[in-house]
């Protein structure tokens, strides 16, 4: 559908949140705790944080949880009963206060989980999410959404986008059917748009430093380059970058069993781990950290654009902030941009 534009006053935005809470909906929103802001389930007494750059964890866990049971089973002597995933237990969740980069992360995951084979479990969770996004008016040196096709006021992946314009007013953009439903439910709050009102001037300024096409081309042509070794020299091979990333979808499947009953569980995994691709024979196609680093970048900036038509990065900068040894993604991508024909 085409994006519909409205103006909405701050008290009305607050009233929508209040009303949703009062009607018993599950709302997940950013809340300030000690020295960090986290997304968590809120109630009437919570204060939603709006003055932060980024949470530590992305919102992907609401569609692609850290771990989840794919199905259960009971085992007896010579028999196995399989209990399918209970689709009805998936809760409806409103993600209030999402950042545009997190919202667009769901598009990358949607592409992964629907590539030919439709992942019904992921889809069921994702469809139960209503994503209410607020444009960014602040950023830090790790933000680079504009370099990967997004922006501080990007609409991709959101159902509704609110952009604060001045102290008391927001531009509301209704992006999807789910967004329309909210607009209809609270139609009295959505005022006609004002022609002279442009959101761009109210957004955080994030310079576009990269060209994703050039990066893709470099990654395809410099597979054997020494740069991967150089860049990954300090990489410790942990999974922090992948686990905080809103677009990383790699997973492991494990069985857990206690006495006669058990479950098959899917949990996050990371291409940075040395054991990720090890064959049972001991052979490891990606034996060195430089190969794994190359895979991480290639997957996001070359393989996904080529095969799924989506960049596997939203420019949220979480990986750079989370890395214990400052593997700064923006810095590394910038140096890849500068690569010449000698690699």
């Amino acid at each position: 559908m085409d994006i519909e534009k409205y103006v909405i006053l701050k008290p009305s935005v607050d009233a929508i949140l209040k009303s949703l809470l009062a009607s018993g909906k599950t709302i997940v929103a950013p809340v300030r705790k000690k020295d960090a802001v986290c997304f968590e389930k809120i109630d009437e007494n919570s204060t939603v944080a709006d003055d932060f750059v980024q949470t530590k964890l992305s919102l992907k866990s609401f569609a692609f949880p850290r771990y989840e049971k794919l199905f259960g089973f009971n085992k007896s002597q010579k028999n196995v009963t399989v209990n399918d995933f209970d689709f009805k237990q998936i809760p409806e969740i409103y993600l209030w206060g999402t950042k545009p980069c997190d919202a667009s992360g769901f598009l990358a995951l949607n592409a992964i989980f629907n590539w030919d084979f439709k992942d019904a479990i992921y889809n069921a969770r994702q469809e139960k999410l209503t994503i209410i996004t607020f444009s960014c008016f602040q950023s830090d040196e790790n933000c680079f959404c504009t370099s990967v096709g997004g922006g501080p006021g990007g609409t991709a992946g959101s159902d509704i986008l609110f952009t604060k314009v001045g102290d008391e007013k927001y531009i509301a953009e209704v992006i999807s059917e789910k967004g329309s439903r909210i607009r209809e439910q609270f139609s009295e709050f959505f005022l006609p748009t004002e022609a002279e009102l442009k959101k761009e001037q109210y957004l955080a300024k994030i310079d576009q430093l990269l060209d994703k096409e050039i990066i893709k081309e470099r990654l395809e042509n410099f597979f054997e380059s020494e740069i991967w070794k150089k860049q990954s020299e300090r990489c410790l091979g942990c999974g922090a970058c992948a686990y905080v990333c809103p677009a990383c979808g790699c997973f492991d499947i494990q069985d857990e069993k206690s006495a006669n009953q058990g479950s098959r569980i899917r949990c996050w995994d990371s291409c940075g781990f040395s054991q990720f691709t090890v064959h049972a024979s001991g052979h490891n196609p990606r034996a060195s950290q430089s190969q794994r680093w190359r895979q991480r970048l290639s997957h996001k900036f070359s393989i996904m654009p080529e095969r799924l038509n989506v960049v596997g990065c939203t420019g949220c900068g979480r990986c750079s902030r989370a890395c214990p040894v400052d593997m700064n993604l923006l810095e590394h991508l910038t140096s890849i941009m500068k690569m010449n024909h000698d690699g």
Binding site: F64, P65, R66, Y67, I90, S258, I265
Partner: protein
């Protein structure tokens, strides 16, 4: 009805297991709430076994082997002793009640001591009640997971 605790005993083959055997052949009656797991030596009893027992629903644990200087392999129990000294401190700090784990030395000749140990342990675990706090943590993976 009185609470019947689940108690798992990790014992060494050479002393305590033989001691428990002697309890039986001496026809000393003792609580049947204990399940014995036999190990070659206390040195083989990894701390993870104890956690696994709690995760699978044990309310109390007994760890027992040869007295110092009596180890069949000369020093397995000395190593075990250090391990438990350190482990007990960590468990306490994490909030796993160390009263639920009882360490003891019981020789092959101490059938009566074994019966007494089991009975005492059963009684003290009955006073502590079922270990629901850890079982609740352990139960999370059996449930459906709705979000991260």
């Amino acid at each position: 009805m009185e609470f019947e605790p689940k108690i798992v005993a990790f014992v060494c083959n050479w002393c305590t297991y033989a001691g428990a055997d002697l309890t039986g052949t001496s026809r000393i009656k003792y609580s049947n709430d204990v399940k014995i797991i036999r190990f070659p030596c206390t040195g083989r009893i990894d701390f993870m076994y104890l956690l696994k027992a709690f995760a699978e629903g044990a309310d109390g644990i007994i760890v027992s082997g040869c007295h110092p200087n009596d180890c069949h392999y000369t020093s397995g129990n000395f190593h075990a002793r250090r391990r438990w000294m350190v482990f007990e401190g960590l468990l306490n700090f994490i909030g796993i009640d160390s009263r639920r784990i009882v360490f003891s030395w019981i020789s092959a000749a101490e059938g009566a001591k074994w019966a007494e140990l089991v009975n005492k342990t059963v009684k003290s675990i009955q006073e502590l009640g079922p270990y629901t706090q850890y079982q609740k943590v352990a139960g999370t993976f059996k449930k459906e997971v709705t979000n991260g």
